[in-house]
């Protein structure tokens, strides 16, 4: 009977399904048709930027309309008095969306990947994971929405109302609890995404099952609403520690690989400690103007807080590896055992290549031991109250260790090569003539960490390496809900147009230069702790111009 209902729906809805598949196919093609590089060639992309969302909404609409062919929430449908098993009906609707939209789109994606010379197994895997994502994020919620509404207009109004209510709720909660709630999950976002997916899958199935078995629309609507709100709230309100805990659970028992954190009072004031870098690599560089704005903001914040820098030592690192602190948690405890302060490490300064921002620490190990100064921003009143008392300091680093893959190379100018893990890559000199643009059409997305060097092998010269780290630890790297093929890239400078800097590999050598890339993979997540039994905070406050408190 499932096929029987499927055939009826197909007869009625095949033009709609075909339209959505064509839209999805066009969406998948827009990036490859735009070529490797952004610019004039990507006009098509600029004009079709809304297409992916339209295609995704289209899938949900097909699901809604398919269910509403035999609407559950009304009392006039002819099917309601026919000897039809409702389970068969539900399966027929699911099958209809899968077979007429999701599977054809998956086939289109697979063919597209193959056309771009990706291996068959990767092509099928990527297309299947993207199809799965669409089933979870579009098809199931669409079926759920269709089951609790009686017409497409009804469904649209219902969906818009949910969004408006959520935005209002978000505004109220954010206003009440502070904007830090919406800080996001730069590291564990894939876990948050899958947790949210699990919620929406369970909620959708519960709603659909309840509605098909009992047709208790008000109850089903309540469950559906709760599901949508729970899903949206996970992205906004889930504590950041949850994805980290899940991540550590999934990666097995804590294995620190011999890496330890310890208090290193003798390391304070080490001359080799450098200021944190402002940023480099892929993405917009931090301009001088932006840096001065940042400094002004920090100075303004500095009037309310007092900085304390604790010298810590990370031992057991392996040269060439990258350590990334996903979260730094700090507690100050009085000698009587009372917790005086609980917060996150703000900024960490290490001597050997440092990026420091938003509670994260990246260490590119050059030797086995790394000294750093962990910076706390304490409320000035608290600091004034306890600065001369002995306190216990507990520091926890949630770390991820990355190891390097073998180096891959591509010609610096007009190179075109398929690189494992990156896809079809091309290079060219940019319009200013001061950078090499490297761009890859990829189906797996950008790697978490990459180091790029422009080198001239004949002359044995190398420019300073560019490094970028944007950790994503999920089993996949793509946000496949948007495009089947993604474009990733970076710009490698080789000439300073102001003439102040000189690169070893510059304009003259660029014709026979090459780009060498090292990709890093996350191999372990673990926590390492250090407890400093007794310190006086006043001893570790740096003398700063912004500080309003006396240093000693």
């Amino acid at each position: 009977m499932v096929w029987h209902v499927f055939k009826k729906d197909f007869r009625l809805l095949w033009p709609l399904s075909l339209g959505i598949v064509l839209l999805g196919a066009l969406t998948s093609l827009r990036t490859p048709l735009g070529g490797h590089f952004y610019g004039s060639q990507s006009l098509l992309e600029q004009f079709t930027i809304f297409l992916p969302w339209l295609a995704n909404i289209g899938i949900a609409i097909v699901a809604v309309i398919a269910v509403q062919q035999d609407a559950l929430s009304e009392s006039q449908g002819d099917w309601l008095v026919r000897p039809l098993r409702r389970r068969d009906l539900a399966l027929a609707k699911l099958l209809f969306v899968l077979l007429t939209v999701n599977v054809p789109l998956m086939i289109v994606d697979t063919l597209l990947q193959l056309a771009l010379h990706f291996p068959l197994s990767i092509s099928i895997g990527v297309a299947a994971s993207r199809a799965l994502l669409m089933v979870l994020m579009c098809t199931l919620p669409g079926l759920m929405l269709g089951a609790v509404t009686r017409s497409l207009t009804n469904a649209v109004v219902f969906a818009i109302t949910v969004v408006i209510v959520f935005v209002l709720l978000l505004a109220v909660v954010t206003a009440a609890l502070g904007p830090s709630l919406a800080a996001g999950f730069p590291v564990g976002v894939w876990i948050v995404f899958w947790l949210a997916s699990a919620v929406i899958v369970i909620g959708s199935i519960a709603t659909i099952t309840l509605q098909y078995s009992t047709r208790r629309t008000p109850v089903a609507r309540s469950i559906g609403l709760a599901t949508v709100f729970a899903t949206l709230c996970m992205f906004v309100f889930l504590p950041r520690t949850v994805p980290l805990a899940v991540q550590e659970f999934l990666w097995g028992p804590s294995n620190s690989d011999g890496i330890r954190l310890s208090f290193a009072p003798s390391g304070r004031g080490d001359r080799s400690v450098r200021a944190p870098s402002l940023g480099y690599g892929i993405g917009p560089p931090v301009t001088a103007a932006a840096a001065s704005v940042n400094a002004a903001m920090q100075a303004s914040v500095g009037r309310e807080i007092e900085k304390v820098r604790l010298p810590l030592s990370i031992t057991g690192t392996r040269p060439g590896d990258i350590l990334f602190a996903d979260r730094i948690a700090i507690r100050l405890v009085s000698m009587a055992g009372k917790v005086l302060y609980k917060g996150a490490g703000v900024c960490t300064r290490v001597p050997n290549g440092t990026a420091c921002a938003q509670n994260q620490l990246e260490v590119r190990a050059g030797s086995a031991d790394v000294l750093n100064e962990e910076e706390l921003n304490l409320p000035i009143r608290l600091y004034q109250r306890i600065k001369k008392e002995p306190v216990r300091v507990e520091v926890t680093y949630a770390l991820t260790r990355f190891v390097a893959r073998p180096v891959q190379t591509i010609k610096a100018v007009d190179g075109l090569k398929t690189l494992p893990e990156l896809g079809s890559c091309a290079t060219r000199v940019d319009s200013d003539g001061d950078e090499i643009q490297l761009s890859c059409l990829t189906d797996v997305g950008a790697p978490s960490c990459v180091t790029v060097v422009l080198e001239d092998p004949a002359a044995n010269r190398r420019n300073p390496p560019l490094h970028r780290c944007n950790p994503r630890y999920g089993p996949y790297r793509r946000r496949g809900l948007i495009d089947a093929v993604n474009r990733v890239g970076l710009s490698v400078p080789f000439r300073d147009l102001s003439g102040l800097a000189h690169y070893p590999v510059d304009g003259l050598a660029i014709a026979h230069a090459r780009i060498a890339m090292t990709i890093y993979d996350p191999v372990a997540h673990f926590r390492t702790h250090v407890t400093v039994p007794s310190v006086r905070l006043a001893d570790w406050a740096p003398p700063t111009a912004n500080s309003t408190a006396p240093v000693r």
Partner: protein
Amino acid sequence: MIIEANGLCKAYGRNDALRGLNLSVGEGSALALIGANGAGKTTTIKILMNLLAPSAGTASVLGIDSRRLSRQEFAQIGYVSENQRIPARLSVFEYLAYLRPLYATWDRDLERSILTELRLPPDRKIGELSHGMRMKMALACALPFRPRLLVLDEPFSGLDPLVRDEFLEKVLEHAGAMTVLISTHELADIDGVATDVAFIDDGRLLFQESMGVLTGRLRRVEVLLDREASAPRETPTSWLEVRAVGNVLSFVETHFSEEELGARIAAIVPRVLKVDVEPMPLRAIFTALARNAQRKAG
């Protein structure tokens, strides 16, 4: 009983559509559910068909609780409603082809003959059919599997007399041993169709009776007196709508007996010159009974 309802209640927000309705339909009978618009006929039928859940009370159809009607029961029920939603973009033939495999007892020859007799165009999209044609289409979808129970909810609403007669003719032709439940607010529609009648008003059942008994026991009586008539101070409870105009006293006798009527009149009204007794048309019967029921209900 094919259908049995006990204390059915249904509220839409603060409005009570049904207030403790009781109803029973015996096998092989044709019960007409009569009532004004908004009386609760459609709500009753929707609860019986499990299209709506009752707020209170229970109902059983074919011996099964209406909330638990399954494929086995629906395979024996034909349902036609003026508001039935049938896929508008399928043709008549396509929809019949969709329904066929759902019923083990579907008679293809019967389907063909009904299509022909009702002059339904097989290739026409359902959405392109007129209201009358759509009702005939709904009937054509309800009869070919020879249902044990045929439920018709306001089937004649908006139909011209020709289509109405065609429709009725088809129902009667295939009624046989089928139990029929038909709701309508037009009394003329059930003349010659219904064996039993139930009158609903404001969500309550005012009465339910066999059509033969009902038409047999009610008579309009006119009594000619030798003086100016006046309404007696006390009248039998079986007399309704007692009126005096000139020398004539008229009333509706609800327990008519040819043998007893004369004596009963003479006991209450002396000096009778003449008594005229006439059978009543259905409309008049319902008007009299409904007014009386409403008066009693307060």
